[in-house]
């Protein structure tokens, strides 16, 4: 196996020759998130960064892990588990081949995101291979760092459009000593109301989900804290509950698997937004993430999301719909300029996020 530095060097050479030929590259590791984003042009060459793998630095007492982007997510999670730590944002794998680079590039987070934060909140630093073949180093391995623009955090959710992510440093957290899941039979509006009200109280709620008239609430923390919170919240404890939250995180829950051909929309709206009545709905993150299966026209869905102060993504079965919510002209201009600066030849994942980007 080649050392990471040698792999990085060969990736660098590959990018330089692609730039010279102006031949676009589709960055694809395990392919577990192929469904996410606009379709790649099949004539473009695929660049698989998985040879660039391995843990580079993990010091549990520094609460930070640094690894090569091609490292399997499973390997990272196993290393953390040995020290009773975890990635706080519970990234979905969507398959065993998921890599760290894909986790960061997709920016997707699981149930715990509502309480702990998103991928970007835990990125401490990254190195990036840009479209000129330069390796750039952003951020670092320490918790607090305001030297230079925070480009490493902006790589979270960038879908590879700015370059090939090489190394990533993430903040990690201790696993909670105790977790308990409680269920309540509640209507949608009541569930939204109640989960938001809890967020303003000192309760260790780490995840919420409402589907089929049932609200599930996970509390996580110290033994004493979880016991006290359960007593305060009421509801019916369910056990074991880990499988349920995994099904949400990995979208293996029946809600996601029995949709036929309807588009699974992801609406990201202010969490207090009232029910949207757009079709079958699964709600996470208090009310901030709403999964809606619908055949309604994209313009209608997007209009409703926008009116609520949010945006809508055609997450699965986009059926030819533009996947991401269009940007305002002023923001689009900044996106284009950033793309032109980091990837002047337009090599990386063209069109995956937006046409022409």
């Amino acid at each position: 196996m080649l050392a990471p530095a040698d792999v990085a060097h060969s990736l660098q050479e590959r990018v330089k020759s692609a730039a010279a030929a102006r031949a676009p590259l589709v960055i694809r590791a395990g392919g577990t998130k192929d469904f996410f984003g606009n379709r790649a042009d099949v004539t473009h060459e695929v660049l698989d960064p998985r040879a660039y793998c391995g843990l580079l630095d993990y010091e549990p007492t520094e609460l930070a892990i640094t690894a090569c982007s091609g490292t399997p997510l499973a390997e990272i999670e196993a290393a953390l588990e040995k020290h009773n730590q975890m990635l706080a944002f519970e990234p979905p794998c969507f398959g065993p081949a998921a890599t760290l680079g894909g986790v960061v590039a997709s920016g997707l987070a699981g149930p715990r995101r509502m309480s702990s934060g998103a991928v970007r909140d835990f990125v401490l630093g990254a190195t990036l291979l840009d479209g000129r073949g330069n390796v750039l180093t952003f951020g670092g391995k320490v918790m607090k760092n305001v030297a230079g623009y925070d480009v490493s955090r902006a790589l979270a959710g960038s879908l590879g459009t700015l370059g090939i992510i090489l190394n990533v440093s993430l903040k990690v957290v201790p696993r909670p000593a105790a977790e308990q899941t409680l269920q309540f039979a509640l209507a949608e509006s009541e569930a939204i109301q109640r989960t938001n009200a809890w967020a303003g109280q000192p309760l260790p709620v780490s995840a919420t989900a409402w589907v089929d008239g049932v609200l599930s609430v996970r509390v996580s923390g110290s033994n004493a804290g979880v016991r006290a919170a359960c007593a305060k919240l009421g509801g019916d404890p369910i056990s074991p509950a880990a499988e349920f939250w995994d099904q949400l995180r990995e979208q293996t829950h029946a809600f996601f698997t029995s949709t036929d051909a309807a588009t699974v929309w992801r609406l990201s709206v202010p969490p207090t937004t009232p029910p949207l009545d757009l079709g079958a709905t699964l709600i996470e993150w208090r009310g901030g993430q709403r999964w809606i299966c619908s055949t309604a026209p994209a313009a209608e869905i997007r209009g409703r999301a926008e009116a609520a102060g949010g945006h809508a993504t055609a997450f699965r079965n986009a059926n030819g719909i533009e996947v991401f919510h269009p940007l305002s002209p002023a923001l689009e201009q900044i996106h284009r300029r950033l793309k032109d600066e980091f990837d002047p030849a337009g090599l990386f994942n063209p069109g995956r996020m937006f046409a022409g980007l």
């Binding site: 007492t61 670092g140 320490v142 305001v146 030297a147 959710g157 201790p174 303003g200 804290g225």
Partner: protein
């Protein structure tokens, strides 16, 4: 959202015509021209240009750097901010945004040919949403004013920089400010959901959102901490958190700074994320104790304050764990606050550390490196060696939880040699921070102060990519020019200036 103005076709090299170095005398002809252009839409009292009116703006919290601005503008509406930006854009006038001016790195140092744009009049809290746990605020709202305004709801705004009584949220966004509770509750970037602002050419944009995320690239991540170089903030939505019901703090003494550092690591290894974890060395406790009478152990080489917060049950469980970890790691004395009054007394000294040092020394120079926690013992010992080398005392306070070290170098600004040594001492600490795998600034920003050390922390390709980000937002380079990111030319010059032995070749030259 506004329709975009016609895209400015700015030749890339135009930026080079904007003087990055904003020093020098004000050009009276240019001043008259720009004042006249601003007065077309700004009332008389919103434009200051006479020296007696602009003098108070000549520096921010880093008083060793001063520069008179050409003009000070004090707009009252977002529309006025947009028109100021548009006017300056058309006339190629640099803009330096300013909040309360409490910054410690010279980020709001005026530009001698530019407009200092004060957002002091944007001081209203526009909306509080207790259910969503958010507040919409103008940039000139003071950090602490947000928590005060929502206290009756049992909520607060988490980041608490030590200047929180005076500093504003706009400045916090510019600097990505921290405080003593960052490890558990995050920095400004974790607690600001949305920023609305004016671009260099006067367009109004919003980055982030009141939802959990927004489409496209995470521009909010770039804007927070950008030191006013990408966007002029006119409004923000911040996250509010429920106030912990209960807090308790353990104070531990150690006879060796290394042991204190090991104890910090042991607390983390035990799976505890304390609400706050702060360390003070002997020089710091000696400076504060006569001042606040916190009851610190003055014989200890270092003391550690570890706070637990949460419900009564959570705190009781965590405090017991913290006490046993600290005892097992060589604490020579342990004391746990038994009342809120006592807890505040333990903290009083830490919070008063800066003014207390100011009391025992005519001046002090506060540094802001972040280091991996495990290196703290060795770094503090190295700083001890530097004290003898430079002949100056240094007290150290340390956000131990997140590795952010604030050495307070004591000097006398009336003694040019002492000031010079203080600066060199500070630079050596910053360079050491980089060498041990840290960063030159954890929460105060680069500004003008640490711009040379940026040349050491980042390679030229990365520095150039920072300019690329800058160009994407500000193609002409008018927003706060010359701050935070050094040009490669400047790095080269610095390389030449950096003479061995800690002495610069031309000590009388202003260095920014």
């Amino acid at each position: 959202m506004n329709a975009p103005l016609p895209s400015p076709q700015v030749p890339r090299l135009l930026a080079d015509r904007i003087p990055l170095d904003g020093t020098g005398a004000v050009d009276a002809v240019r001043q008259r021209e720009v004042v006249a252009a601003l007065k077309i839409f700004l009332p008389e009292h919103c434009v200051l240009w006479r020296e007696e009116d602009t003098r108070p703006y000549e520096c921010d919290g880093l008083t060793m750097y001063r520069q008179l601005p050409m003009i000070v503008a004090l707009p009252e509406t977002e529309e006025q901010v947009a028109r100021i930006a548009r006017t300056c854009f058309e006339m190629l006038v640099p803009i330096v945004p300013r909040g309360a001016g409490t910054g410690l790195s010279g980020g709001a140092l005026p530009h001698g040919q530019g407009v200092l744009l004060s957002l002091a009049k944007f001081n209203r809290i526009l909306k509080i949403d207790p259910l969503a746990c958010t507040a919409v605020v103008q940039p000139g709202v003071r950090n602490l004013a947000i928590s005060d305004a929502v206290a009756h709801l049992g909520l607060y705004y988490a980041p608490d920089p030590s200047s929180q009584i005076a500093c504003t949220i706009g400045g916090n966004i510019a600097e990505n400010s921290g405080g003593v509770h960052c490890l558990k509750y995050g920095l400004t970037l974790h607690n600001v959901l949305r920023v609305r602002g004016v671009t260099v050419d006067g367009q109004i944009i919003e980055v982030g959102s009141e939802a959990f995320d927004s489409p496209g690239l995470d521009l909010l991540a770039l804007v927070v901490g950008s030191e006013g170089m990408l966007l002029i903030t006119t409004e923000a939505t911040v996250k509010l958190l429920p106030k912990p019901l209960f807090q308790q703090v353990v104070m531990a003494s150690f006879d060796d700074v290394g042991k204190g550092g090991d104890a910090v690591a042991a607390v983390i290894a035990a799976g505890i994320i304390p609400g706050g974890m702060e360390m003070m060395d002997k020089a710091a406790t000696a400076a504060v104790e006569p001042f606040v009478k916190a009851g610190y152990d003055l014989d200890a080489a270092t003391i550690l304050l570890v706070e637990s917060d949460g419900t009564l049950e959570e705190v009781a469980e965590e405090i017991a764990q913290i006490e046993s970890v600290l005892a097992a790691h060589g604490a020579t004395r342990l004391e746990t606050s038994q009342s809120d009054l006592e807890r505040q007394r333990f903290w009083a000294g830490r919070k008063a550390a800066f003014p207390a040092v100011g009391r025992v020394s005519p001046d002090y120079y506060c540094m802001d490196g972040t280091i991996p926690r495990k290196r703290v013992g060795e770094v503090l010992k190295a700083i001890g060696v530097m004290e003898s080398k430079y002949g100056l005392r240094c007290a150290n306070v340390f956000h131990a939880g997140d590795g952010n070290l604030h050495p307070l170098i004591m000097f006398d600004s009336n003694d040019a040699d002492s000031a010079m040594r203080a600066e060199q001492f500070g630079f050596e600490i910053l360079e050491l921070s980089i060498a041990v795998g840290g960063t030159v600034t954890g929460e105060h920003g680069v500004g003008v102060e640490k711009i040379h050390q940026m040349c050491q922390q980042f390679d030229s390709a990365t520095l150039e990519s920072f300019f690329a980000v800058k160009r994407a937002f500000d193609p002409v380079g008018l927003l706060n020019p010359g701050k935070a990111i050094p040009t490669l030319t400047r790095c080269a010059e610095y390389g030449k200036m950096h003479v061995k032995g800690g002495q610069l070749a031309f000590p009388d030259l202003p260095r920014f």
